[in-house]
Amino acid sequence: MSSRWPAAIKASLLIIFAVAIVPWAADEYWLSAILVPFLILSLAGLGLNLLTGFAGQLSVGTAAFMATGAYTAYNVASRLPGVPLLVAFAAGGLAAALLGVFAGLPSWRIKGFYLVVCTLAVQFFVEWLFTAFRWFSNDNSSGQVEVPPLRIAGHDFNDPIGHYWLVLAIVAVLTWVARNIVHSELGRRFLAVRDMDTAAAVIGIPVLRTKLLAFGISSFYCGVAGALWGFVYLGSFDPRAWELGRSFQVLFIIIIGGMGSIAGSFVGAAFMLLLPIAMSHLASAWLSGAVDQGTLSNYQKIVFGVLIIFFLIKEPLGLASIGRALQRRVRIWPLRQW
């Protein structure tokens, strides 16, 4: 409806690209250092977007949910031998979802910043939990854990291309589900609660239940993303992989990419990953190593801060909305509106 091409064609083109072209075009560095983290961060962004962009509940606890997913998946996989890897991931997602619903409970009384603070509370509690209780890291003194090899139904996914396939498959399925949700009654309820919760309540939408669903589903996505981050991208991890900074990173992804847009989560993640790389390339090309990594990371911080402010001011709906605007413009060219 919104575009000239039916969604099916778009989707299939995308799949062809991701399945056929990318693995053929990309080398190992791209696969394991960019594409895999890109897909995983997109998934986390998608999760946060469902909660913040669609249901309008700002959260800075994303990293906590990711950590919960990762550690749950790890413990299931390592303590219950014989449990399929995907089941472990799912368990990670479910554990995160439970925590999410719990974190969302205060939204019964409180909104806005106050809710932000609740998610912060969860963030710190989880960081502490996995650090203080070695049990979670299999009594490893440093809290560092080694994940078991990635084998699913006898197939081995331990090389970069395998990583890519595994992550791509999971992300694709979850994106499809997210798309269904967004275009369904639940999606409408999310938007209703976001846009005008009093009116939502008056037309009979169970506001608290809707918010909790948003928290639960969102956290499930973040949990799976966390499990993938730990198992596929890092391979061995400790709680520091999921500190507050990660939460902000994911938040920035959806601010830049586009609140309330599925595509935005992916665009934002790509931007988030590629900008620093581009910057360090430029630095080494022009300044030829004059700036050390530390200074560079400071500049990156500045750039990101500026970008966030810029987007909030100029394009509150992020890169995705710019894309949509262009698309609309093309569809009614040469007219301005119709």
Partner: protein, 293 residues
């Protein structure tokens, strides 16, 4: 028993430090409804600037003045380049903008002055003094004295000066104030300046206690539960909140920590705060707005 008391008082005094940061929040929130996540970055920025000046053999007094001036510039820029364009946007958007701002400030501060830890000596050696049988940190006493002076100054400013009065007017009823010809941008520049200076003082105290380094920005996270407990829009709330957080976190650390393996001071205040939220959604001192539909 004496130990308990000492812990308690020690916690209370430490809490004052939290209050110092929280006050910066409250000023901005009261006058502009902005939840300024960048407060922590301002603390770091000011402290780092000050220390670096000192290290470059600038005299103490000059360093103070220059840093203060810098903070004024920061405030003006924040208003000119950020807030001005975000007027009457949803509060959460403004919050995220300050998040961006804090990244800019942190990045700039470290790009300018480097990321390594700087020692800062205000000339108060942190020897324990004993007052009616309680052994207390002199430094904490000094800090709380500073805080007291600061609050007095602020209240004087708010009540005696014209700008202060219009500031209070805006806080009480923005629309009315505007109709009375109060210029919002000016107000915002002022409160951000004030918040910057308060942050500066907090930065000095924190810095001289734990060294001036990146982790200073984290005091913002300490201040968060303080604000929840005290309410975003009440200075006395910030003070009391700070005391409560300081005391409870010390007590918890001493009496609960060992049981669960320590390190709980990071989240314990938050749980305290959230618990309180559910009982009193506007904190102890903030007043609850009636939903208008």
């Amino acid at each position: 028993m004496g130990y308990l008391l000492e812990t308690l008082v020690g916690g209370l005094l430490a809490g004052i430090m939290y209050s110092m940061v929280a006050i910066g929040f409250v000023l901005i929130y009261k006058a502009s409804g902005v939840f300024n996540f960048a407060q922590g970055a301002m603390v770091l920025f000011s402290a780092l600037t000050f220390v670096s000046l000192i290290e470059r053999n600038v005299s103490f007094g000059c360093a103070l003045i220059i840093t203060a001036a810098v903070m004024v510039v920061v405030a003006v820029l924040a208003e000119r380049l950020v807030l001005r364009f975000l007027v009457n946007r949803p509060p959460v958007t403004l919050f995220m903008a300050t998040l961006g701002l804090s990244y800019v400030l942190e990045g700039t501060a470290q790009a300018l002055w480097g990321a390594d830890v700087h020692g800062l000596d205000l000339g108060i050696d942190d020897v324990p003094v004993s007052i009616l049988g309680l052994r207390l940190s002199r430094f904490d006493l000094f800090a709380s004295a500073t805080a007291a002076v600061l609050v007095v100054l602020l209240s004087l400013f708010a009540n005696r000066t014209r700008i202060g009065r219009s500031l209070r007017a805006v806080a009480d009823d923005p629309l009315a104030a505007l109709s009375l010809g109060v210029r919002l941008p000016k107000i915002w520049r002022w409160v951000w300046t004030l918040a910057g200076l308060v942050g500066f003082i907090a930065g000095l105290l924190w810095g001289s206690r734990s060294g001036v380094q990146f982790s200073l920005t984290l005091v913002v996270l300490k201040a968060m539960p303080v604000l929840i407990i005290g309410g975003f829009d009440s200075i006395e709330g910030a003070i009391v909140g700070g005391l409560i957080v300081g005391a409870s976190e010390k007590l918890a650390e001493v009496y609960v920590g060992p049981i669960v393996g320590g390190g709980i001071e990071n989240w314990f205040p938050y749980f305290l705060a959230v618990g309180l939220l559910l009982v009193r959604p506007a904190g102890l001192f903030g007043d609850r707005a009636v939903v208008r539909v």
